[in-house]
Symmetry: C2
Subunit: 314 residues, 2 copies
């Protein structure tokens, strides 16, 4: 919801096509490349994930790389589409460059998230969905609004020095790959972000690295883009292409329960399994509704007014 007016501005600037002709342009039994025709990733992504699922139904797994797309929202929501088919779902996307590789002062990669959703039986499914940076950009924006410092290891300044200034990225600095610095494994976060960039951008023919088009409509598109638009990568693996789904799900339940029962460290109530906090939030919000921050609500009301929609403030 917070991004809706940003999407509209991209559409107004002619960068998002509202009725795209999304289609497969290359395929094999287990793979496809989808051309998003400059559609919004929220439209292109579900199409591509559906192709991956259909291929998995046919030959066990399906893998779809997407070009010529835009922001696709929440990676995990695409990956989770596979769960109801007793499949593992995978989703990732590249994004405009805010992240400096290890030893670099230049921003070369986006926050390039990876999501993996794995079916379970009685337990809530395993859903991991994370940016390949120490912290997502949204977390820095929250600190900026509160005028608070960021922990060391989240950002560097424009010379590449460690910094706690939450506004560093706006001042020529950069987000840091997961790990933070070389001593703590930032080369691994850098490698992960790179893999997402290559699977999403280079396998499909989308743009990549420092040439990925930016999200804000007022930031110009990079010159000499080596490919078309933003890239995504989706995967679906049918569980019973490996072993009977019921057996797998029993073992997933066993895995999840064992990890939940791990002895917690002092000061922590319990150990969480990836996706568990979100499952709890989902339940709560299905009952109580989705809280919107004041500025987001104002933004949506203004957008509604502009386009002649009647929205009622809660």
């Amino acid at each position: 919801m917070a991004r809706l007016s940003g999407y509209v501005r991209l559409w107004e600037a002619g960068r998002i096509q509202s009725s795209p002709y999304v289609r497969i342009v290359h395929e094999s039994p287990s793979t496809a490349v989808v051309d998003g025709d400059r559609g919004l990733g929220l439209v292109v992504g579900p199409y591509a994930m559906e192709v991956a699922i259909e291929k998995a139904r046919q030959v066990g797994t399906g893998w779809v790389s997407v070009k010529n797309s835009n922001h696709f929202g929440i990676a995990g929501s695409h990956a989770m589409k596979a769960l109801g088919h007793d499949m593992i779902g995978i989703a990732m996307t590249n994004a405009s460059a805010l992240v400096a590789p290890t030893f670099s002062v230049e921003r070369m990669l986006g926050t390039n998230p990876i999501a993996v959703a794995i079916p379970s039986g009685n337990e809530a499914p395993f859903v991991a969905d994370f940016a390949t940076t120490t912290a997502a950009n949204g977390k820095l924006e929250i600190l900026q609004r509160k005028n608070e410092d960021a922990p060391l290891g989240w950002v560097q300044d424009k010379e590449g020095n460690p910094s706690t200034n939450a506004s560093e990225v706006r001042q020529g600095g950069a987000l840091l790959p997961l790990g933070g610095d070389r001593e703590h494994g930032s080369h691994k976060g850098y490698a992960l972000g790179s893999i997402v960039d290559i699977f999403s951008g280079i396998l499909s023919g989308a743009s990549y690295g420092p040439w990925v088009p930016p999200f804000p409509a007022y930031v110009p598109i990079p010159e000499n883009m080596p490919g078309e638009g933003i890239g995504h990568f989706f995967g679906a693996m049918r569980i019973d292409a490996f072993r009977p789904a019921a057996e797998f799900k029993d073992h997933m339940d066993h895995w999840i329960r064992r990890f939940k029962e791990a002895r917690p460290a002092k000061g922590h109530e319990r150990v969480l399994v990836p996706g568990e906090p979100e499952t709890e939030f989902e339940k709560e919000r299905m009952e109580q509704g989705i809280p919107l921050l004041g500025p987001v609500e104002e933004d949506l009301l203004a957008l509604g007014n502009k386009w002649g929609l009647t929205l009622r403030k809660s």
Copy 2:
């Protein structure tokens, strides 16, 4: 080489079968489960990777989960088998539990490495190969020998407190997932290690989590193992199942050159691309030979003597 006598001890203890009947026990056009019949992973892995490559040749991609295996050596060496076929190679493995999930004092995961090898044209290939922990256990062993402290973020003590004691893991402590602590994204490293465990262990029917059999032959096998042996997961994706390989490789060269040219931070000569240091080492060692540490050389000589082999010290 440093692990050879460990492999022999596992064989002497009856935990590794020297002539395993490695075979496919379940398959679909793009997937297989391989039973390693308690063979050494260094034997089972290449078989399974070959199955993945053959399936990729047929239907675009191949994905093989392996049970009933043992230590498979260097993840990257398996992934790199795909490169000569113009395929992307992926390899991962679970391992005995040394790593505490975020908020846990219990060790639940191995260092569970991931390797991804991506073909290029004129540039050296992109090869990422990393443990899903802040630091691999081998790095701690080096510090122990030198009697030096570990950086904060590598290990915790047996109560879950941050520690710089490089011997902490031997004293009931644990390695930490990539990220180190929650504030620096350790839940992401924990999720990655979990994904490796599930793809390797639960998809195949191998053991998983805290029940993965240990490497040292003197450590007893866990009770109530939920599966058979150690698990691996291999993948191969044929480039031209997505786009013409020559086009892809041109763009990979472009990607690699651009990242190598990124402006370095003060105090660093240049930005490295994943696999670059290893490519340089390989070249040097093909010319000058592979240096062995004194204790490794002694260990190999003792092993040779025990089995009546004549080895000559260099």
